[in-house]
Symmetry: C2
Subunit: 272 residues, 2 copies
């Protein structure tokens, strides 16, 4: 049976990331509906608000459209809601409760969640991203400035995790690919072991690894299941022997991997 | 005068990204309070919930602690709220309204916003990230598979933007650094111009550019203000002449740059 369609719109005067994050969390709880999601970001003029209202009113939907609206300006809000969607404001009620708790009124003109509120933090994430790039894949074995060093066999998920940690948390995340030589010697280079408290390992199901490597180099020894099984098993042995914490990336999203690493290594950084 | 402190906790059985995104949006509207933010992710057992409650109860705060709690399990929620914080649930009320609109009850067991819900989409973002890395900084001038190509002078913000677009939207974002030769010839290579509809330019304030380049190579001609001014002005000329859309990264966050590029190039991709 074809699922019924419900449109949902993320309307914002900024990037719409907050509206989308909230809306996506809501709709994941209804599996029998086919939600058609549309982001309507940077709605900061009457003309754009009217265009947004037109889209909301005219996109086919089997239900009243859902509208997550985080636009601050009252006139623009009114135009957007003239389209007749179900108004879902994630903040208003919570803000009133916080105002009461603090005994202070909000100042809606102030922050913008994903704008450039703090130059220093912005620079930190750019610097961390550059660090991750220049210390990717064992390119430089100089980890004095690293906040953490991810270890793992080739294609276990190190690079995307490092980039995510850098872009979102400003962490200087290096990564070192465990080589065949390391596996044979059953130990890691001294440049790496020197920073034992910065180390964290990634592992992966060998079947999955073989699949990923096959896409990259079909028919190679590198992609053979037996080779992948041996590498993963040896790498996990190295982690165990050296008491290096590790986790499997097989059924884990980048966000979850990053989050768990930060818990394990005790980083309490803010999300950018 | 020293600001009063209010603790805020982002408690989740997953990554806590949704809770943090909501909470951060709320507190940006109160500028006179020093909010002490703590993420308490992966709270999925009674023991962890009790540890979280201890942290909430025992962290010094001039106000009742704020608790954004997105944990699903009722018993764990109860333990967390036994700490006496102000319960701020961003979803419950909205979910009830959506249930009414759809005539369907939610199924809380279903989705998890930042878990690995869709393998295909997960693979797409990894593939896009690899693409961004292998097509960074004009490394490969083969843009057949690119979704977009960012142009700009060295250090105008191309690389972090490409990585963000890849990691979050699965977009294959290449970037091409406009060279001195291009600027002198006042045109772009044919390998780039071939894909005119994929092009987007980044520009930057020359003072800011000079500052960034100085940090990288102090005292170099590359970092000289006059050189930066000439490069930026010539690059903008090339954009104008070729009717290539562009924006300035000077006062813009990575999220905003990415969002605006997607609007300009008409991508309606979901946020991962």
């Amino acid at each position: 049976m074809k699922k019924k369609v419900c449109t949902i719109f993320y309307v914002s005067d900024g990037t719409g990331i907050t509206a989308e994050t909230v809306g996506y969390s809501l709709i994941t709880q209804f599996k029998d509906i086919d939600f058609q999601q549309t982001r309507l970001p940077f709605i900061d003029s009457i003309k754009k608000a009217q265009a947004a209202a037109d889209i909301i009113a005219n996109t086919p939907s089997d239900f009243q459209p859902l509208v997550i609206n985080t636009v601050v300006d009252i006139e623009l809000r009114r135009i957007i809601h003239s389209a007749g969607g179900l108004k879902l404001d994630p903040f208003n009620r919570l803000l009133r409760r916080i105002e009461k708790n603090l005994g202070i009124e909000r100042d809606p003109g102030v922050g913008r969640a994903h704008g450039i509120s703090n130059k220093q933090r912005y620079d930190a994430r750019i610097e961390a991203t550059n660090f991750a790039l220049s210390h990717d894949d064992g390119m430089r074995l100089n980890y004095v400035d690293a906040d953490l060093i991810l270890l793992g066999v080739s294609r276990s998920g190190k690079t995307p995790t490092c980039l995510y940690l850098a872009l979102h948390y400003g962490l200087k995340a290096a990564n070192y690919p465990i080589t065949d030589d390391d596996l044979e010697a059953m130990k890691l280079p001294k440049e790496v072991m020197e920073f034992k408290n910065k180390l964290f390992g990634l592992t992966i199901d060998p079947f999955r690894l073989s699949q990923i490597r096959t896409e990259r180099r079909p028919g190679s020894r590198y992609a053979e299941l037996r080779k992948c099984q041996a590498e993963v098993s040896d790498a996990e042995n190295i982690f165990h022997r050296n008491q290096i914490g590790f986790l499997s990336t097989t059924h884990t999203s980048i966000e979850e991997i990053a989050g768990k690493i930060m818990v394990e290594l005790n980083f309490n950084r803010r999300l950018y």
